[in-house]
């Protein structure tokens, strides 16, 4: 942006801002908030809802503050009579095409249109109800996302999210005029198109047109069923975001309070997905080393490199649709959630003397795609559905509120055992680059017997919010059994959000980029920006959550997955060794190519 300053007045107050600044941003500088609906900091400007219109003195028409750059000498009014009339009329128009039975809406209390209607005290609708005449269309076939067109206000945030941020384009604008709507390829339900269930659209929908499919009632039912032993696992990114649902500012670490709350909700055992995150590092690290050995020592031309991570179910479905030729490159490791489910109904059951069919596994995830992942037919290694119910961070917040728990006053509690122990390496799974960093910490040490050569184990090149990050680690001084890796520079790449993943994989496909190991997380910022995380989201909020995650890592006594005592124990007692036959049957999976539309 140019440093050239533009002078204007907003509500008669002079302000100077750099050329190219929008009226919206300039007004914000003067602490004038202009309402918006289609505007979202993560997305390109649309300027289509028009609630942000402002008056320019001498102008023929009003200006959309979000889409109009400032001009020298402009005199803007953000709350004049004509602006107020227009704004209120626009809110009324939106309400007339919006199913506004707010008390029955899932987003009641967290709806931007509802807030605006309240702010402007929109009374009895002036306009004719346009919703009832139209055929109601609710797509609730997806295990992750419900799309209700009767609540849609056509702001197109979801379309821009799916297209720009995710490069998926499962959602698009279809038809025109009064038939215009947000739809999919041939109006198919979301389960039948390229939708990855990432839920980024859910995070950005200002109303209740796109919501997660909730399983809260089912979970209450099993908690209240005395014949069920209900085990809950919590993903790394939940602990740094749950606070936002319960009145905290973003970036608060609340692991201990969250565990206490889960116990108070009535779960029989509160365990940690971080445990299986550590396990993933052992399994995936071993898989990577095996592939490298086959490539370097055996000169096996069929070995698929670069190897990519497989923790993110949105990413897995994306690559199944978009780059099916690269499926052999995807690590066969299940995600930590699914490893946990498979072990809960085998290893945990065995240790606790329980029958698998009496155990219910509930996951608290920052993710909507995890709901879909748990439903994949491959995820039944225990002989039962490995993970029974997946709740988002938001749904956990809802349960805590429903149970009347005063969260802020809770004492901290530790996770239960077994499968509750974890290391800092597992916590950072929640941030983009975290799996890569955790894997490098372990793999380097396994191969050389020394700690990874980064200050305080912090591998900074793979951290941060750049879309694609790269790191190279030179392996020197190997232990005898890994001699063949001596001198090799392991080349790694990290991508977050699927648009970046597409760019990265296209480069790999075109042969313009060469790596050994690639980490992809479907959501911006990694799991901490997942589709199941608290709303709203933006880069500032995601950065605060990331800082909390890295803070949690630094504060833990163990920061390398292979040092987790419960991991050592499970290999000794149950699995044997990483990538053993038993590991393969319980902890690994396979993928399938899917159609491109």
């Amino acid at each position: 942006m140019s440093k050239y300053l533009v002078n204007l007045t907003i509500n008669d107050i002079p302000v100077s801002v750099p050329e190219g600044t929008t009226i919206l941003a300039a007004a914000s500088k003067l602490d004038f908030r202009i309402p918006t609906l289609c505007y979202h900091e993560d997305l390109c400007v649309a300027g289509n809802c028009r609630v942000c219109v402002v008056e320019q003195v001498g102008g023929r028409a009003l200006l959309a503050a979000c889409a109009t750059p400032v001009g020298e000498g402009m005199q803007i009014h953000t709350n004049s009579a004509v602006v107020r009339t227009a704004r209120k009329t626009i809110i009324e128009l939106l309400l007339s095409e919006h199913s506004s039975d707010c008390t029955k809406c899932y987003k009641n209390g967290n709806c931007e249109l509802q807030s605006l209607a309240h702010e402007y005290r929109v009374g009895d609708h002036v306009f004719i109800d346009l919703v009832n005449g139209k055929r109601k269309h609710i797509d609730d076939l997806s295990p992750s996302i419900i799309k209700d067109d009767s609540k849609c206000i056509r702001c197109q945030r979801c379309v821009r999210t799916c297209d720009e941020l995710q490069g998926v384009s499962a959602l698009a604008v279809a038809y025109k005029g009064d038939h215009q709507k947000i739809s999919t390829f041939l109006d198919h339900p979301l389960v039948e198109v390229v939708c990855t269930n990432c839920g980024q659209c859910v995070n950005r929908c200002p109303v209740g047109a796109l919501i997660e499919k909730t399983y809260v009632e089912e979970v209450w039912d099993v908690i209240n069923n005395p014949n069920k032993h209900v085990v809950v696992q919590t993903a790394p990114a939940v602990r740094v975001a749950i606070g936002e649902e319960l009145g905290y500012n973003p970036g608060e670490r609340l692991t201990g309070k969250m565990v206490t709350a889960l116990k108070r909700l009535g779960f029989d055992s509160v365990l940690d997905t971080d445990f299986t995150a550590d396990l993933t590092i052992l399994e995936e690290g071993t898989e990577l080393l095996t592939r490298l050995k086959r490539a370097v020592v055996d000169k096996d031309p069929t070995v698929a490199l670069p190897m990519t991570t497989s923790c993110s179910p949105g990413w897995v479905k994306f690559i199944e649709h978009t780059f099916p030729e690269f499926l052999p490159n995807v690590s066969t490791c299940k995600s930590p959630q699914q490893m946990f489910g498979a072990l809960a109904k085998t290893y945990y059951a065995q240790k606790k003397g329980l029958k698998a069919q009496d155990i219910t596994v509930v996951s608290i995830m920052p993710c909507t795609a995890k709901k879909y992942e748990a439903n994949r037919p491959e995820m039944r290694s225990s002989g039962y559905k490995d993970v029974d119910y997946v709740l988002t961070t938001r749904e956990l917040g809802m349960m805590i509120k429903q149970a009347g728990i005063n969260f802020q006053n809770l004492e901290d509690s530790p996770y239960d055992s077994i499968m509750g122990e974890s290391t800092g390496a597992a916590v950072i799974f929640g941030a983009t680059g975290g799996v890569m960093e955790a894997a490098l910490r372990t793999v380097y040490e396994v191969v050389t017997g020394r700690e990874v050569p980064f200050a305080n184990l912090n591998i900074m090149p793979v951290r941060g919010m750049d879309g694609v990050k790269e790191a190279k680690v030179k392996i020197e001084g190997c232990l005898p059994e890994w001699k063949f890796l001596d001198g090799i520079e392991v080349s790694c790449a990290v991508a977050h959000s699927l648009a970046n993943a597409r760019k990265l994989m296209q480069a790999v496909k075109d042969g313009t980029a060469h790596y050994h190991f690639i980490e992809v997380m479907a959501c911006p910022g990694g799991c901490l920006g997942g589709g199941g995380q608290p709303i709203p989201t933006n880069e500032e909020i995601r950065s605060k959550r990331a800082a909390a995650i890295y803070g949690e890592d630094e504060g833990l006594p163990l920061r390398k997955s292979h040092e987790n005592p419960e991991i050592k124990m499970i290999y000794e007692e149950f699995l044997g060794a990483p990538n053993s036959h038993k590991s393969h049957s319980l902890l690994h999976t396979h993928y399938l190519a899917r159609k491109k539309y």
Binding site: A46, R60, V82, A86, E97, H179
Partner: protein, 388 residues
């Protein structure tokens, strides 16, 4: 021009003794800046309806520093009641091509496009054939400029210039935010001069006969002549080129059937002039501007039906992107239906007028902004017909 008949003019369709390629060659003897001065001096304003000064548009595009620039002929003639561009492209396409070439030379564009309304695709074979000859002619006279045809797919909104660019780029035809304006960032994000079919022919003729001759016609605010598409209750339906500056009364005296009660000027998106205002209303930029459509209605017509038709059209043809237009059109349509059925009080029409006024200032593009024109003019002047 008081009490005189509208003056018929023959500029647009005149072909006798004109060699379009020769005219382009002669125009190139002048510098681009001289041509721009001529265009500004002529007072020519865009004939698509919005009336932006053509010379200024060319000047702004010329002033942009870009290797790639484009000139586009907007032939997406979709306004209900307008059919002049079809006639022009059918009868004198070479003059349109030459207008594009002169504009291309002036602004520094090497590529020109004609965006043709999908329903006019029957013109394509002949146009393409003639374009081949014309493009070869440009080579011959040493002008690095070639024209291609592009086809629309039937959406009214794609006549809006920025939606037209989106459509040409293979995207959904939805208007863009402005600024930036097309002269800065148009087709493919490059500086683009986009002109109506008729405008290009006038520009061509100004290059041929000079600004002075053009300026002699019309009024201070509305120079020159204009091609009108005349329809409705008239014995003289069809195309007429008339000097600008006449009153609606003069027009009706010439073209009416003796029982004209209203004239819809400028198509569905224009304003409706009732009989009592015929005398005082000038057809032109100082009065009621028009893209050329003149629909005459006699006393046998229900203005409720007229307005209802227009609103149905806009409800269907809104791109649906912005709230005021997408929802506003539906509310206006359903609103007058409810009043007609007695479900809403006649006073509801005032609420709807307020809504129309909001649409005029808050919609994203000209489509949504102009729905207020027919709505307010018809409801204000024919309230009884709407209610009863």
């Amino acid at each position: 021009m008081e009490n005189t008949r509208p003056k018929r003019v023959d500029i647009i369709f005149l072909m006798e003794g004109i060699d379009p390629i020769k005219v382009v060659e002669n125009a190139m003897k002048k510098s681009p800046d001289e041509i721009i001065l001529d265009m500004i001096d002529s007072g020519l304003k865009g004939r698509g309806g919005a009336g932006f000064p053509t010379g200024l548009k060319w000047k702004f595009t010329r002033n942009e520093d870009s290797y790639d620039k484009y000139v586009i002929c907007n032939a997406d003639e979709g306004e209900p009641g307008t059919f002049k561009d079809r006639e022009i492209l059918d009868r004198v396409p070479e003059k349109v091509f030459a207008g594009l070439a002169i504009c291309g030379y002036t602004i520094g564009a090497r590529e020109g496009f004609i965006y043709l309304r999908g329903e006019y695709n029957f013109l394509l074979p002949v146009l393409n054939q003639k374009l081949d000859v014309f493009n070869a002619g440009m080579k011959k006279i040493g002008l690095d400029f070639a024209i291609q045809m592009r086809s629309g797919s039937g959406a009214y909104i794609c006549g809006e210039e920025s939606a037209l660019f989106e459509s040409m780029e293979g995207k959904r035809g939805e208007p863009r935010n402005k600024p930036p304006y097309p002269t800065v960032a148009g087709y493919l994000g490059k500086p683009t001069a986009i002109n109506n079919v008729e405008t290009l022919v006038y520009a061509f003729m100004i290059a041929r006969i000079g600004a002075e001759k053009f300026k002699e016609m019309g009024t201070k605010d509305s120079r020159g002549s204009k091609v009108f598409s005349i329809s409705g209750d008239t014995p003289k339906a069809g195309i007429s080129e008339l000097e600008l500056g006449m009153s609606v009364q003069q027009f009706v005296d010439e073209f009416g059937d003796g029982d004209t009660k209203a004239v819809q000027v400028g198509g569905a998106s224009g304003g409706c002039v009732p009989r009592k205002m015929f005398k005082e209303t000038i057809i032109g930029y100082e009065g009621i501007p028009t893209g050329g459509s003149m629909m005459l209605f006699n006393s046998s017509r229900s203005m409720y039906n007229v307005l209802h038709d227009y609103l149905e059209f806009f409800t269907e043809e809104s791109c649906g992107q912005c709230t005021p237009c997408r929802v506003g059109c539906q509310q206006l349509l359903k609103g007058i239906e409810a009043v007609k059925r007695g479900e809403k009080n006649p006073a509801y029409l005032d609420d709807l007028k307020k809504l129309a006024k909001t649409m005029k200032v808050a919609a994203k593009c000209g489509l949504g902004q102009s729905v207020a024109n027919p709505f307010i003019s018809i409801v204000s002047n024919f309230k009884e017909e709407i209610i009863y």
